[in-house]
Structure formats: C-alpha cells, structure tokens
Symmetry: C2
Subunit: 283 residues, 2 copies
C-alpha cells in the first residue's frame, strides 16, 4: 500500500509510524508546506519520499489529511477532484461538521472517510510523533454511511492494526460533545496560563512553588495555536455555550467563596468529584 | 527519634514513610479522628502505634500537624500549650498567614516551624501515601527567624534526608503566590468538572471521547473537598483576586471568539504558550 500523508506532524506521523509496525511494505509519500518538517519526517522514518499534492494523490492508494481543520476544508474538495474512484481519502480533523459539509455534494463523496482519532499530546511536529500514540485509542467515524465499501475496508484494516476502538457519530453531535470533553479544556488551560503569567511576570522564581497539580492543569496551554485556532473557529457556537457555562460555574464558586457559604462550597466540590469515575476510565 | 503524627493521610503518611528510609529507628505515634485511618496507617507501616493528642505530644520529640488548615489553626495553640520547651511542632498546611497568626504571641512560638511541602496528588488517606512523594521537592518555610535553633536543626535534618529544596518566604507572600500557582488550578478544575458533568449527564458514554488532555485538566477535580474547602477559606482574598483575573481572561477569549478575531486569538494563545518553560521546569 502507498499512502499520501498531508501534514507530517504529531497526528499524521504517529498514525503512519503505527501502521508501519504491521505493514512493513507500506510506502508513505509526505506533503507539507514546511520543508524542514519533510526533512525531519524522512530522517525519522515517518515518510519515504516527498511529492506535490497533485502527483501524490494520483499515484497512491490513500490520502490522509492531518493538517489544521481550516486547511482540511480547503484541501479536501481539491483532493477528491484529483482522486480516482478507487482512492481513499481520510481526514483526522478535530471538528467534523464543516469538513463533512464541504464535500456533501461532491461526486466522489464515497471516496472520503471523516475520522477523528482521540489521542494527542501538547507537542507538535514530526519529532513529537511516536508509533504507539493510537494503540487502543478511540476512533470516531462520522457519516460512515456515505463512505464507500472499499474505502471503509482499507480504513478499518488500518485502525484494527492498532486495536483502535471504533465509534460512529453524526458530525453535529461530534462537535457538540468534543467542545465539552476536549476543546473547552484547552481554552481553560490557555486562560489559566495567561492569568498566572500576568500575575507572576515580575517574579519568575515564584514558579518554584508550583507543583504537579498546576503543571497538569496548564499543560494544554503549551498546545499549538496554529492547530487550535481553526478548531475553535469551526466549533464556535458549541464553545461559546461551553464557555458561558464554565464562566457561570466559576462565578457561582466565587459567590460561595465571597459569602463564605462553606456547606455549599463543600457540596459544589463533592459534585465535581463525580468526574473521578470518568477520568479514571480514561487514564 | 519519636514523632507524633496528627493526620495519617497522604501528606503526613508520605513524610514519615520518606523519613523511615534513612531513620530505621524512627517511632511514629499516630493521632487521627478517623479510627479506620489509624488501622490502615498501622498496617501500611506509616505509624507504629496510636495515642491521644495530649499523651503523644508529651512523650515524643516532634509533633507534625498534617490535617486540614482549619484544624491546624484550632490544634496548633493547644499543641504548643502541651509541648515542653525542647519539643518541635511542624505544620504542613497549604496556607500560612492564618496559621502563623494563630500563635504569633504564644510563649512557646520558638517550638513551632511553619512549613509547606510542595507535593501532593489528587488522592487522600493513608493508602495514597508513598515514601518518594517529597524526594527533591520544594519545602517552603515561613517566619524561620521565629523558630528555635534546636527545632530548626531537627527540621532541616528531616528535609535533608529527602533532598528537599529549601525556600524561605513570609506568610503573606506565600499565600498570595500559592493562590495563583496552586489553589486557583483546583478551582478551575472543580468548575470544569462541574461544567462537563452538567452538560453531559444524560450521555455518560460520551466520555469515551474524552482524551488525556481532558483527563489532565480535570484531574484536580478529584481532590478532597474536606481538605480544599478550608484552604480556599483561608486564602479567600487572594483567590477572589485570582478568580476575577481568570474570569476576565476567559471573557476576553470569549469576546475574541465571538467577533472571530483570529489574529488576536492566535496572539492570546502564543502568549499562553510562554507557560511552557515554566511547566517543563516542574515536570
């Protein structure tokens, strides 16, 4: 099999490194705006060669789009235009409604599979990629009924090789739920990072006093702005809803602290403790 | 040496387990309101026996107070009343101004050392304790100049045995900075846990889609309400200041998202990325 990998960073790089463990003859052609990334990806064994998008789509079996979501919306119709009817196109975008919408009337819609692998780290680029990232992780597929049989067979074979847990979901539900269980976490972390930097900018040594709890909460503030900006844009309405609820919850805690209603504060925290069973299931 | 350990949970338990590695003859007498905790602590080798507070203080060299901060404020003057002039009393509270204030005019103030070891996990109780928790971690001491020479010698010997990194700080600065680099993280996490549970309560299976980023951000929402309620109470003014700034930062991001000011959103996230060097130093 020959794959055209558009975007040779953490997500795309980890996916093909994962595949290469059980598909030793897999050939990966890299496409990336950043020439330095292509050089690194080659050196790291992520890609075997690089090419133009046009030529790569026409000379491979499958194209994987692992770039920021606005770039996917831009590239996907073009890739489908170039693809022959046997080709498989898979995107790994973290929002799905706008991406699915961009090709809903495309003549070659059946060539496309809308996918979202639930894994990542706060790092980015080819050097951040590693073969085990997607092992046993959840893979969400949207509008599977619109994808072709042959395309789905290839896709499921790839996912099965990493024991990924397959879930189906419509694009709107996907974006709504991801707003709460992923995207909002990133905003809360970016804002916390900003808050603390603002307050502590004159006394950097103070961070000696920050422990692992702080590190855990602001970890996502290290995430790539270039990747997350477009995600927030695509998921704007759900995120505004999430942000409003989150700010209300913070305001409520602030009110309890201001009036020093200790019993209500305790009840608030005990309610939040219920997240335990969910988090323990993830970790 | 013989230590009276008041509170045989994560913090106190880990500290004496840490000490026992290099002080095999150390005897630890446990004092805890919760009888089950005493049984567990004995079984786990944290304590060697249990006793009443009064008798334990009068028959040991050192009393460690590792209980919620409101309990420390309540117990500390009483423990100093009971202590003889050679005794060392150390508290491990996460706020320091109210605790130091509670004994500032006590005749035996020199017996007391106000300490805050910067380490912990989201778990609590004797079973959560482990010997390595404080290895190489920061230990903050407040008002060291008010503690006696003999007491400081014993304290520094204990901390040195775990290679703890010693810092000095006045109680007000301590509480101000900890509000930002620790306490605020907990509130942000409790509120995020509440937000997500509220939105997703009818669809628990949705949490399949939550990844490690979400887990990291809400991890602290699992923390003990009984321990954190009193910390928030003690540090109310600094935390209200922190919460206001945090809510302002979230409101600012919300405004940028609403008006879809992509450049400003990018700048906001790049600013937050500066937390990277700080977090990498902690981890």
């Amino acid at each position: 099999m020959k794959i055209a990998l558009v975007g040779v960073g953490l997500i795309g790089g980890s996916f093909v490194l994962g595949l290469k463990r059980t598909m030793p003859h897999l050939q990966v052609v890299g496409i990336d705006q950043n020439a330095e990334n292509l050089i690194q990806a080659k050196a790291l064994g992520i890609i075997d060669s690089s090419d133009t998008l046009e030529h790569a789509v026409q000379t491979t079996d499958c194209t994987i789009l692992a770039v920021p979501v606005d770039a996917i919306v831009h590239l996907l119709p073009r890739v489908l235009d170039l693809a022959n009817a046997d080709h498989t196109v898979i995107d790994f975008g973290s929002t799905k409604a706008a991406i699915c919408g961009s090709v809903k009337d495309h003549a070659k819609r059946a060539c496309f599979i809308a996918a979202h692998p639930i894994a990542g780290t706060e790092y980015s680029g080819p050097k951040a990629a590693f073969a085990e990232l997607f092992d046993n992780k959840v893979m969400i597929t949207c509008e599977e009924e619109l994808s072709g049989k042959q395309q789905l067979a290839l896709y499921h074979q790839c996912c099965a090789s990493m024991q990924m847990q397959m879930r189906s979901m419509d694009p709107k539900s996907h974006d709504l739920h991801l707003a709460f269980v992923s995207h909002l976490s990133h905003i809360s972390s970016f804002a916390l990072g900003k808050t603390v930097l603002k307050k502590e900018e004159s006394e950097q040594h103070i961070f000696d006093m920050a422990g692992s709890g702080f590190a855990s909460t602001v970890r996502l503030a290290k995430s790539s702005p270039e990747m997350w900006g477009p995600i927030f844009k695509h998921n704007k309405e759900n995120l505004l809803d999430g942000l409003n609820t989150y700010i209300q919850e913070l305001e409520r805690f602030k009110a309890l602290l201001t009036s020093m209603d200790e019993e209500a504060m305790l009840a608030y925290m005990k309610e939040a403790n219920k997240i335990r069973e969910i988090v323990d299931r993830i970790a």
